[in-house]
Symmetry: C2
Subunit: 338 residues, 2 copies
Amino acid sequence: MIHITFSVFQNHNITGKIVIFVEKWEGYGTTVRYRAASRNEALRGAAGVLLKSVTPFSISSPHTGSGGRGAVIPSACLTIEEAEMLQRMYKRGKKLEIRMQIKSREVGKCTSRNTIFDIKGSTYPDEIVLLSGHMDSWDVGQGAMDDGGGMAVAWNALNIIKEMAKKDPRFAPKRYVSAPVLKTKCLRTLRVVFWTAEEQGMLGSQAYFKETEKDSLKKFFFVSESDQGAFKPKNDKSAFHFMGTRAQMKVLDEIVQIINDHNIPLSLVQSNDQGDVQFWSDKGVPSVNYVSDQGKDYYFYFHHTNGDYMTVFKDGDLDYVTAIFAALAHVLGNIDHW
Amino acid sequence: MIHITFSVFQNHNITGKIVIFVEKWEGYGTTVRYRAASRNEALRGAAGVLLKSVTPFSISSPHTGSGGRGAVIPSACLTIEEAEMLQRMYKRGKKLEIRMQIKSREVGKCTSRNTIFDIKGSTYPDEIVLLSGHMDSWDVGQGAMDDGGGMAVAWNALNIIKEMAKKDPRFAPKRYVSAPVLKTKCLRTLRVVFWTAEEQGMLGSQAYFKETEKDSLKKFFFVSESDQGAFKPKNDKSAFHFMGTRAQMKVLDEIVQIINDHNIPLSLVQSNDQGDVQFWSDKGVPSVNYVSDQGKDYYFYFHHTNGDYMTVFKDGDLDYVTAIFAALAHVLGNIDHW
């Protein structure tokens, strides 16, 4: 039984059958819903679920991902090639017999720990400018893109700020600064967090948020994340996805202009998807989520595959995104107020 | 031991070692030489050979291909990701220990047969306009692109000519035709050949050439091939690669213009690479080899991989290339002379 849309699906008796989803790619946010459907709908009597990998492009590339959680029937991803072949056979009226042999088990819970780096603020040490990425990945590939790159650029942004301030006292952007700035410090604390257990549903950031929830608005001046590939921006479709007030957006727009002045294309757009830092965004803390133009389709060529290797990053990718986050953190660490 | 260029390679003692080639992609024709090097150079005492897959792009995609023939040591392809990881480890001074476990054997020779379709010519049945593709493929994928598509468009071009002539008597292009044209026929014989054993080194076309060699110039009015992906042409970098005289090129240029007039971009360029029909080209029979703009880099994303599935062909690919070959065959089947 092969299904293209949920509405078609409702009218079929799937008891004892293997349900195969051969969904169209309509962008990750839309298409990934079919993974959840594997769980929700197939439990209505299906024997198993097969899903075309959630990707716009394939070289016989299976993509894994969450979706089967809580299911009591086997569920797996097919490559685009395999799924479309089954669809062609089905359309020709062939009887499809598939045997699924899947070995998997839940290994139980264990403790994982977020990793936190700080450069203590000189004047407002209790106000935090937060950069972040997540340190867990799927079992396929190296997790270089999802999300080794996010961690690398966040950590390196702090490192660069520290190193540049040592070498060049003029590094503090005077037009934003009214208080004296120590050579190696910003006014505010710059914090990098490597989240754990993002792939299981942002468990690391959620736990950290719960710890800090009481005074989160007071404590966090700004939060940010990079988890859609630390690819250098190639055009003005690369953007900070922003949540916050109009006044805060105006300040961020000035920072984007500084970055643009250095010939780095970047836009600022409003968005409700802030990834791991969404917990704070929802409480009113201003935030950005970095999404390069390649973070839309191209990122999903490699997402949750054996192709998520260091090889995805080309010359300059990590350096450019480091520069963007360094500029962002340094300015926000030193401005008087939003 | 990791090698980038042949010249570096010459100065190393490789006895008892596994040689890993991490070559740069410089286009297929150039880069594929490293596969032959696996055989030729590694026999100088090496224990085995690993080669970065000959491709410009990878999603953890191994590519197979000839190269190890005649070698007495194991030889295999790595994905780009694996090869570049080993290179990074090597550059960091890591000691690399690799165990190769490869099962392969030569199963001996057997008979294979070219498949030939004819539409007999009405006036010059002994003059042949030949279209071709090859029907064998590697053991990976379906061989849809390499070269199922080439066969499909060649066969379908003949089919379309036959069907259109039945329906539309005006189909014969009068300005080229001096003799009366029967409704379902061209003046010359149109022949399609599906070659066998191209992947083993063009054995099928070579055998056929040897059979016909004696009067090949007299018998073959024109020969052609499509073995670089039957992708529809998207821009004027898509071309017939041509071998022949200036006068013949002028005729082909007129055909290309007819195709262009129907909003299909196509160019005509000189080239010495005619694939399976090279045997005839070298004897002076005019020929073209169809190479779409996607036949250069993009084709090699899937070439000799598990991604060589029907999925590579998008809407219109096979139809457009069929149209190109049908126009080509029909005009050449009916012109008075070169």
